[in-house]
Symmetry: C2
Subunit: 340 residues, 2 copies
Amino acid sequence: MKTNKKKLTLKDVADACGVSPTAVSLVLNNRESNISKATKEKIIRVANEMNYQFNNVARSLAIQKTNTIGIIIPDISNAFFSESIRYMQTELHKQGYEVILCNSEEKFASDIKYLNLLLSRQVDGIIMTVSSESMENENWKKIKAILDNNGTPHVLFDRYFPGDEAKVSLDNESSAYHLTYYLIKNGHTKIGLITGPMTLNSSKGRLEGAKRAIIENGLKFDEKNVFYGKYDIETGRLGAEHLFGKVTAIFSFNDLQAYGVMEKARERNIKIPQDVSLIGFDDIFYSSILETKLTTVKQPLEKMSRAASNLLVELIDNANKKKNLSFAGKFIIRDSVIKH
Amino acid sequence: MKTNKKKLTLKDVADACGVSPTAVSLVLNNRESNISKATKEKIIRVANEMNYQFNNVARSLAIQKTNTIGIIIPDISNAFFSESIRYMQTELHKQGYEVILCNSEEKFASDIKYLNLLLSRQVDGIIMTVSSESMENENWKKIKAILDNNGTPHVLFDRYFPGDEAKVSLDNESSAYHLTYYLIKNGHTKIGLITGPMTLNSSKGRLEGAKRAIIENGLKFDEKNVFYGKYDIETGRLGAEHLFGKVTAIFSFNDLQAYGVMEKARERNIKIPQDVSLIGFDDIFYSSILETKLTTVKQPLEKMSRAASNLLVELIDNANKKKNLSFAGKFIIRDSVIKH
DNA sequence: TTGTACGCGTTATCAC
DNA sequence: GTGATAACGCGTACAA
C-alpha cells in the first residue's frame, strides 16, 4: 500500500538539476529562451524521472486564466444534450480547453448555483442551455444579471432569453413549417400538435411554424388539436390520448414525445402510419431503429456544438464578437407518414 | 456593451467595510470567529452589494484542496454512462464536490491524457471507467502506474484491471447465469451468445455465467453459437446474421446489441419472440418502450453510482478504506422470451 | 475583537 | 544565458 507521496514542485526539480526554477518553468512550458540544449534536455529528463507533475491551480492563479470552460445543460440523460456535449468537448479540447459539466435538471435554482460556482472557479467562458424553469416568470433576468455583471464570455445554446447575448440555435420556425407542409402535401387536413414547454423559444418557434403552414395553406388552425406539454415521453402518451380520433396526423415537437405516441398507439391497436401519420423533431439515435422508423427533422448537432464552442473561444479572445447563429434543420423522411 | 470589469478581491471588500481581509474571509466562509454580529452583517451586505465573487483558484492553492472530482468514461453518448454520471454528480454535489468530466471515446491515449490532465489540475479524486483499448495488451499497467505514483484516491467503475484498486461493479457472472438459466427453463437448448469486448471483465463475466448455466444444466456449450463482438448495435446485427437459423434463443450481452438483433429480425421477417427468443443486458431506457419489450437485467445504476461516489469521498478522507463493491443485477422479465 | 505576515506553486520582470 | 524577486488571491497562525 502506497503512502501518500508529497507532491513535487518546480523548485524540487530545479534543485535536482542544479538550476533555477525559472529555467525549469521555461523549459517545461516550451517557451522561447536562451537556455542551452544540454540543460534543456537534462531538465526534461530529470522531470520525467522524478515523475514531476505540473500544478495547474498555481499556474491558473499566476496567469489569470484557467483554460476551462463551464457547460450548464438541463438534462444530461437527454440524448440531444449528451451528444452536444460530446461534440463541444471534442472541439474545446482541440482549442486547449477543459470542460466542467453541470446538470441543472431543469431547475432555476441549479442554474444560479452552478453559474456562481463556475464563475468563482474562474472559468474562461460558459456555454449554457438554461433550464425551462429559468424561462418562467422572467427568472432569466437574474441569470442575465449575474452574467452581465461578471463579464465572463458566454454563449447560449438551443434556448435563449431576450438580449444581445451570443447564441446558437436552430431555426425552429422554418423547420416546423416544412415538416407541417409535408403533412399537408400528403393530404392531411386535420393535424394534431404536441408541444414542449411554451416558455422555450424552441417550442414557441415550432408552434409558430406549424401554425403558419396550416394557415398559409388554407386550412384552419384549431386550438383543440394542440396538446400543450413537456419534451418527454409521458407528454407523448397523454397527447396521443387527447388527439387519437380527432386527427389523421400528429406532429410531436420532439422524438421522445413521438415514442410516447407510438407506445399508446400499440396499446390501443392503432397502426402508425396506416391509421395515424406521425412526425417528430430532433432525430435522436433511436428514431432510426424503431419498428416504424420516424420521419423527423435532424438538428445539425455537431455543427451547432462546434459553432458554439468556436464562437465562445472567439469571444474569449475578443469580447465584441457576439453573434447570433441560426441553423437550418435537415428534413429526414422515413416511414411514419403516408398519404391520406 | 459591457467592458471587462476588474475582478474584485477579498481586500477590496475589506477596504469597503473598513475591516481586515482576514475578517472578511472568516465571515464569508462561515467560520467560527469572535467577530461581532454587526460587522458580520455589514460584511455580508457589502459583499453582496459589490457583487463580490470568491476566487476558488486562489482558495484551492491556499488550502491544497480543489473540491473537484475527475470522472473519466469511455462514451458519454452511451446511456449507461450518461445516466451513471448524472447520479454521480448529484451525489458528489451533495458532498461538496464539483465534477470535471472527460470522455475517452474508448481510446487508451485519451485515458492517459485525461488522467494526467486531471492530476495536474489537482483533483481530489478520480472515478474512472477505463477505455476498452486500455484493457488490451496490458496497456492498463501504464494507467495503474500513473495512479499509484501520484497517490490520488480513485475508484474504478464497471470495468477494472487486476490490483488492489477500489472498485464498483456488477456481479456479471451471476446475472448472466440467471438470465441463461431462464432461457433453459423455458425449453431452449440451443442458445446463441453475442459478446462484448473480451478484454472487459463485464464481458468475460457474462460469458462465464452463461457457460456455467449451460454446462451445469446438462447442455453442451458450442463455440459456434457464440459471436464475439463489441457492445454496439452493429455487433447485434452481425451476430443476428450469424446466429439466425442455428439457435432458438439469443443472449446479447447488452441491450444495444439486442436492438441490432431486432432490426435484423424485422429485415428478415423473423418474429421475436415467436421465432427466436431474445434477451439483453443493462435495461437502458428504450428497452421498455420497444415494440417487443425486452427481457433483460437491470444494473442498479443509481446504487452503483452513489456507492462509487461515496467510496471515493471516504477514500479522500482515509486512503486505507479501499473496497471492492459488487452489486447484483435485477432480472426484468418482459416480452421477448417464450417457451420453446 | 481585529490586523499582520507569510505560505501555497507558478509566472514574469528585471538584473547579473 | 541564468537567477533573484515580486506578483496572483486567499487561508492561517500569531500578534496586538
